[in-house]
Symmetry: C2
């Protein structure tokens, strides 16, 4: 195995190179699973980077802050723990993010009468305007990405992603359980 100039690779060609090398060093490696993991992770990273840098940061929102606004927008007023579950983050993260969102007048925090431990989060009118404006641009970016696939390819891709999402491995992962 001659030493090709690995320095000249970009991330994409690195995937092919890496799979060959890994298989040579660890013969038990499953190259298809490896490619799936690498490609999925890289694509998601590029998506989030795109959303964050072109849509949310220019509007003064962090990616986490947008996710909180997003779930409040679509699910309606929520107790903090439910917002955390739907947004896929810890209760502590919601608590920290809401501090900023409340300061910026986008979210209100009110006590829940039935449970004095709980806090109900709700969008203000400014918060509603901010999240609809941001999501409109966000969805425009999503459309730009999706446009690379035909309609049937999009359907197939979504089906396969959802199959993975509901797989036993996903259930075992139990994110932020």
């Amino acid at each position: 195995m001659t030493d090709r100039p690995a320095e000249d690779l970009d991330y994409l060609s690195f995937v092919d190179y890496a799979i060959g090398k890994a298989k040579a060093e660890l013969p038990d490696t499953d190259p298809v699973a490896m490619r799936l993991g690498l490609t999925l992770h890289r694509l998601a990273g590029a998506l989030v980077y795109d959303w964050e840098s072109t849509v949310h940061r220019p509007r003064g929102l962090s990616w986490g802050g947008f996710r909180v606004l997003f779930v409040l927008w679509l699910a309606g007023p929520l107790e903090s723990r439910h917002a955390a579950r739907l947004a896929g983050m810890s209760r502590a993260a919601v608590s920290a993010l809401v501090k900023t969102l409340e300061r910026d007048g986008l979210v209100t925090r009110t006590q829940v009468p039935e449970d004095r431990r709980a806090v109900r989060l709700a969008l203000t009118e400014a918060g509603h305007d901010a999240v609809t404006d941001a999501y409109q641009a966000h969805n425009t970016r999503e459309q730009a990405w999706a446009a690379s696939l035909t309609a049937s390819e999009q359907t197939v891709l979504i089906g396969l992603l959802e199959k993975l999402t509901t797989s036993p491995a996903a259930a075992a992962a139990q994110r932020l359980a």
Copy 2:
């Protein structure tokens, strides 16, 4: 539209609920692109969380630290900037991570004779052992995820993900360009 108890949703059923609500509020929303973005992002998050919590953190590696070891393992010794590009992170992040990896005896930093600004990163023997042990477990998790799909489904999924990765939208995103 009666107010269903959105609080009782889990993340998965939230996707359906969210798409309906968003379409109602912002008619220009593309529901397929929205589902693609949500599903892809959620799946990748679950994957990374699984890798990090079951494989890397128990071995004393951060997710970022593993990614640096991973590219050095497969691409061989690299200048810091190349490691950053292949690992998909900033030069500053590599610099910070290598500080820890060097302290733990997993990576060495040596001056490059031809360019006195540059630093060449290389795995130590302990680093090589650490990354092969970690990646073996990592790939085992990847196999567990991939096992939910048939071989041909895996092939189709990888093809579609790579098509998105090489799309114009991805090129425009230019992550960490």
